[in-house]
């Protein structure tokens, strides 16, 4: 199977502190992958490194491109809508995406916006946390790329918005593309994940298929994830 994302010997320091080191990761196409880790473990940093908006040492390749400029063409990531003014209307943000990204599919955006009840006339500052996350999902999934990144789309939102977001992922994620979605509360998305990747102690400590965890360890994903933080003596 062809790899969509390959990370080799990635290291990243900030203010002389190790944030990430010895990161190795290969993701195949057509997968939904949960990126798990405690707050501050480096999940967002890893996403910024993948898109090239943060620079570390080591090699990151997305669909054969290893330069930051090349990678950006294959990765869709809406970094918390940073850079948009609070009084910006949703419709203006969509127009910006349409102008900047040649792979932006307006038709697809309309479908997503309708499904997620987004109102183009609303201003960014007036959006609830849930609506803001829905906008991020709609913008991110409207690009036609190989790798999609979603950073904590479920934190602090109501259960109805969560369901809508999960359903949009199932419905609109292209067959051959891979989604890397970070979360620190895995049970709400466990049924839609093919694999989990856990960031702990400044590196990736686990990359495993969810069905293998259920089948071989007879554990739910949340419990498996939590026991990584309990002493670490239980190695069977």
């Amino acid at each position: 199977m062809t790899a969509i994302l390959t990370i080799e010997s990635l290291k990243y320091n900030r203010n002389q502190r190790h944030i990430l080191h010895d990161v190795q990761l290969t993701l195949a196409g057509g997968k939904v992958v949960g990126l798990l880790g405690a707050n501050g473990a480096g999940k967002t940093t890893l996403m910024r490194l993948i898109t090239g908006s943060a620079k570390g040492s080591g090699a990151i390749t997305v669909s054969g491109s290893s330069t930051p400029v090349g990678r950006k063409q294959h990765v869709s990531f809406t970094d918390h809508l940073k850079g948009f003014a609070p009084n910006q209307k949703i419709s203006r943000i969509e127009q910006f995406y349409d102008a900047v990204y040649p792979d932006f599919d307006s038709q697809r955006y309309q479908e997503l916006a309708q499904f997620l009840d987004l109102d183009g006339q609303q201003k960014l500052a007036a959006l609830s946390k849930g609506t803001r996350e829905k906008l991020i999902i709609a913008l991110t999934l409207s690009r036609q790329v190989d790798l999609y990144l979603l950073d904590e789309p479920f934190s602090g939102i109501d259960s109805m918005s969560r369901k809508k977001i999960i359903n949009s992922i199932i419905r609109w994620l292209p067959d051959t593309a891979t989604l890397l979605v970070s979360d620190h509360y895995v049970s709400e998305i466990a049924p839609i994940l093919d694999e989990i990747v856990v960031v702990k102690d400044q590196t990736i400590v686990v990359h495993e298929e969810t069905e293998t965890i259920r089948d071989q360890k007879h554990m739910d994903i949340e419990t498996y994830y939590e026991q990584l933080y309990e002493g670490g003596t239980d190695n069977d």
Partner: protein
């Protein structure tokens, strides 16, 4: 749909579809929804649905027609054996649990008979409400 996250999801998806075949909610020869639609209906991963359907095709309970989708087998005796299998599984659980309470085989039969009788009376009284 809520799944038990300790059990492989594809096995639970199979159980859901088997149940619908045995109860007739899915009829022999009926077409299943598309994979992505099933994933949406069950709120699960598309690949997991694919895996569940793949094993059901291998077992002969579903028939895949290239380009047209997946269909429930028209082999009625095959569906009957599936029903037998599901009944056996339920009975095995009950039998095991009652044995664990130190009931003999005869006592198990007697208590099941008594239960069914009482249950029947209850349901009758409901009907007369």
């Amino acid at each position: 749909m809520e799944f038990d996250d300790k059990v492989p999801i594809y096995l639970q998806i199979k159980q859901v579809i088997y149940h619908e075949m045995v109860t007739g909610k899915l009829k022999p020869g009926e077409q299943l929804p598309a994979v992505r639609q099933l994933a949406l209906d069950l709120t699960v991963n598309v690949n997991t649905v694919q895996r569940a359907l793949g094993t059901m095709i291998a077992e002969g309970f579903l028939v895949s027609q290239r380009g047209r989708g997946n269909f429930v087998t028209e082999d009625q005796p095959k569906i009957a054996t599936l029903k037998q299998q599901l009944v056996q599984e339920q009975l095995a659980t009950v039998y095991h649990e009652l044995h664990a309470l130190n009931l003999s085989d005869d006592e198990i039969i007697t208590s099941v008979q008594r239960y069914v009788q009482q249950r029947g009376n209850q349901d009758d009284s409901h009907l007369n409400d």
